[in-house]
Amino acid sequence: MRVGPKGVNIATSRLSPAAVGRGFHLSMAWLVTFLFILPVYIAFSNTFKTQAQILDGPLELPAPFTTDNVTDAWNRSDRLVQDGLINSVLITVITVSIIIPLASAVSLYLHQSRPALRRILTAILALGLMVPPQVSLQPIVLLLQEIHLNNSRTGLILANIGGGYLSFATFVYMGFISSIPRDILDAARVDGASDLRIWWKILLPLLRPATATVAIFVGLWSWNDFLNPLFIIGPLDGVTITTGIYITLGGFSVDFAHLFGVMFIAAVIPIIGYLATQREFISGLMKGATE
């Protein structure tokens, strides 16, 4: 195989073995990728077919094309989709916008505290990433009953903010804060700026990439969360789009066309969000994971 230093093959009139090898590699990679996301393709393409088309040729492209499944899902008489989307948007937006100031403030505090104290507090925060949500769920429900916030969106939002998401967000911010030169914060302090001012005027603007990571992941997780909304809000007092699908369509569903229509509406927002922010997404995943 005649290959140049950077894998550039020496061109010949016929296809060189290296080019054939590369073509083979590319087609293998596409084949594996396609097989891997085949379930996503099935769900996506079948959203735009009738039930009969789905059962006739589940793998075929949607021709003729119909948007009935999506509009039927949207126009359900129980308003599953509308109510679920409203609740999901509210819960997600409020959770994210409260967790951002809280976690960045905690990380500033940890950054300025003595190393021994910081180690202890970091270990306590790490607990939040490890504890399975099922372990703390029942005591949380009992606590919320005690303060009469059970079966409410407020209770769910409080549980979201105080749980593992806070640990994750704080660790993301800590990773970024340690890369900010200490001099900047010290100079501000010498100038007599208060902690609150330093946090708001200097730190938050500098931490914008970390905020993007936190918003993306905490947003995705609270949007997709199933366990907490199912038991904290409860089936009778409102659903998110995620629990709503389960409660209304649970068990074996025979009407695939309708199921695909509802699933499409629920999944399209996180997928578009991911595709739009994928650069931050992947780098955020790496940063979050290395903490």
């Binding site: 590699h25 293998m28 990679a29 596409w30 996301i37 379930p39 996503v40 099935i42 769900a43 059962l55 589940p58 793998l59 809280l102 976690a103 403030a105 905690v106 306590i124 607990l127 939040g128 490890m130 504890v131 399975p132 099922q134 372990v135 703390s136 769920l137 029942q138 005591p139 606590l143 409080l158 105080g162 749980g163 806070l166 640990s167 946090w199 949007w223 997709n224 199933f226 366990l227 038991f231 995620t242 699908i245 068990g251 074996f252 569903s253 025979v254 199921l259 695909f260 699933m263 629920a266 999944a267 996180p270 997928i271 969000g273 991911y274 997404f281 992947i282 995943l285 994971a289 290395t290």
Partner: protein, 280 residues
């Protein structure tokens, strides 16, 4: 501001864990406020609880097979997709999609495929590969395999991304030097690629373990724990004892067991794998 965060964290994480420990020593039931201390009785009842023992066996199966599959295949995918061209970047983007979907959507998606009248059976019958539709989710063994398969599908999505980032951090000079020394592809992989992926391996093994230990959503939607309770994870069992049976005390003992298992597994894997990173 930081204090508000601390208060919420104490109220909704530390206190609940402590409260679960306290409840595990009582006979508290969900709908009654009165309870008595019964010492370690809830813990003594654990080994005799056949559903719990079955759930531990099921969880062990899932945790081991999913962690193995998602890391072996994650490395394989990452190596396959590790080219700097836009086409490969697009493929790496697509492969992550299962991680973006909620467990509920994943469960329903695979239900439309694996149900008795589902897409897999329709296709297999059309192709003449089977005479009768196979009841993938109606048989204990097949359902267990299906759960492992579906969960691996979601975890492979993130292990691939983590290993891809690990691969991109390997200096190409190492491979050029190896080529000059006459190393073949397999030697390059075992001597350079795999050791250089050590920290990526630590991250993705630990994450796969923690994620599968709390497995819940996919099971609820795909099998509901059946058939014949054969696909109930320990986390699923815990929620069932707590909210279906309403036995808060007993559930808390299960919760403490699950927490202890998670803590030990997380501690052992990170310390073992970190030590391995240092050695390499």
């Amino acid at each position: 501001m930081a204090w508000l965060a601390v208060a919420l964290y104490v109220a909704f994480l530390l206190f609940p864990v402590g409260h679960a420990l306290f409840l595990s020593l009582t006979d508290r039931r969900m709908l009654f406020n009165e309870y008595d201390f019964i010492g370690l009785d809830n813990y003594r009842a654990l080994p005799g609880d056949s559903r719990l023992v079955a759930s531990l066996q099921f969880s062990l199966t899932v945790v081991v097979s999913v962690t193995l599959a998602s890391n072996v295949l994650g490395i394989a995918f990452a190596v396959l997709l590790n080219r700097p061209t836009p086409a490969f970047r697009l493929m790496r983007t697509l492969v992550f999609i299962p991680q973006v979907l909620s467990g509920v959507i994943v469960g329903f998606m695979w239900q439309t495929i694996l149900a008795p009248n589902g897409i897999l059976n329709v296709t297999l019958v059309d192709l003449g590969l089977v005479d009768q539709p196979v009841n993938w989710l109606g048989d204990s063994t097949l359902a267990t395999i299906a759960i492992c398969f579906v969960v691996s599908w979601t975890t492979i999505a993130f292990t691939t991304v983590i290993y891809s980032a690990g691969l991109q951090a390997i200096p190409t000079e190492l491979y050029e030097a190896a080529k000059i020394d006459g190393a073949n592809r397999i030697q390059a992989f075992t001597r350079i690629t795999f050791p250089m992926l050590a920290s990526a391996l630590t991250i993705s093994v630990t994450l796969s373990l923690i994620i599968t230990l709390k497995l819940y959503d996919v099971i609820v939607v795909l099998t509901g724990g059946g058939p014949a309770n054969s696909t109930r994870s320990t986390a699923f069992h815990l929620v069932w004892v707590a909210f279906e049976q309403g036995r808060a005390g007993q559930a808390s003992a299960v919760a403490m067991l699950l927490l202890a298992i998670t803590a030990v597994v997380a501690y052992l894997t990170t310390s073992l794998l970190r030590r391995r990173e240092v050695r390499l």
